[in-house]
């Protein structure tokens, strides 16, 4: 429990410092808002519409592949910690585990989903 106390303190102080800095900027900076200044920056051209529009589907694919391999790494971390004591059969289990997932990567690759088209 004690170790998480440090982490909690880091989170608390890590929030206080930027909040304090931004508040200092808010106090000392001038505040003269006007509609032109507050309009969205678009290289000096009048902004057209909102930015909250539909996005490129390719980003989703990479987030998807990332999610799958992220979970895979989570499974491998306890395996890596104990690897020194477990011997060869644990290594073979790990190889099987990774090989199954690499099939997924190869499938995605072959389908042309890793291209930025």
């Amino acid at each position: 429990m004690n170790e998480w106390l440090y982490v909690a303190m880091f989170i608390v102080v890590g929030l206080i410092i930027p909040v304090g800095a931004i508040t200092a900027g808010y106090i000392f900076g001038p505040k003269k808002p006007n509609p032109v200044k507050q309009s969205t920056y678009e290289c000096g051209i009048e902004p057209v519409g909102t930015a909250w529009i539909q996005f490129k589907a390719q980003y989703y694919i990479f987030a998807l592949v990332f999610l799958v391999f992220d979970v895979e790494a989570v499974f491998l971390f306890p395996w890596a910690v104990k690897l020194g004591q477990l011997g060869l059969y644990a290594v073979i289990e790990g190889i099987i585990f990774v090989a199954i997932l690499v099939v997924g990567l190869v499938y995605t690759w072959r389908k042309g989903m890793l291209e930025w088209a």
Binding site: Y60, L64, L67, D70, V71, V74, F75
Partner: protein, 102 residues
């Protein structure tokens, strides 16, 4: 020390809120958000049972990691279905997805 019952009640509340989200929301993505809450409630139960019974049997922790994998699979396929449906029907409202009716 916090008794086990507190964790179980927290998990039950979280599960019920998630269930409400699944039943009441119209948007499919919002429904999936509710499912995530329910999976988290399950995980709280698994980990607290591990902590409050024999800590040397790691079943609770192992199964909560399996739940992470299940959640990842559920989200990736679920959201892929949503995107696929959106591309065909241009909607993300659950009631309007009735292609399987006939």
């Amino acid at each position: 020390m916090v008794p086990l019952s507190w964790y179980l009640i927290l998990a039950a509340l979280l599960f019920s809120i998630g269930l409400f989200g699944v039943l009441a929301r119209r948007n499919i993505i919002a429904i999936l958000l509710g499912v995530e809450l329910m999976l988290n409630a399950v995980n709280i139960n698994l980990v607290s049972f591990w902590r409050y019974s024999d800590v040397f049997s790691m079943g609770g922790q192992v199964f909560s990691i399996i739940v992470f994998a299940v959640a990842a699979a559920e989200v990736s396929v679920g959201l892929a279905l949503v995107i696929s449906v959106y591309r065909r029907r241009n909607t993300v409202i659950a009631d309007e997805v009735d292609m399987l009716k006939w």
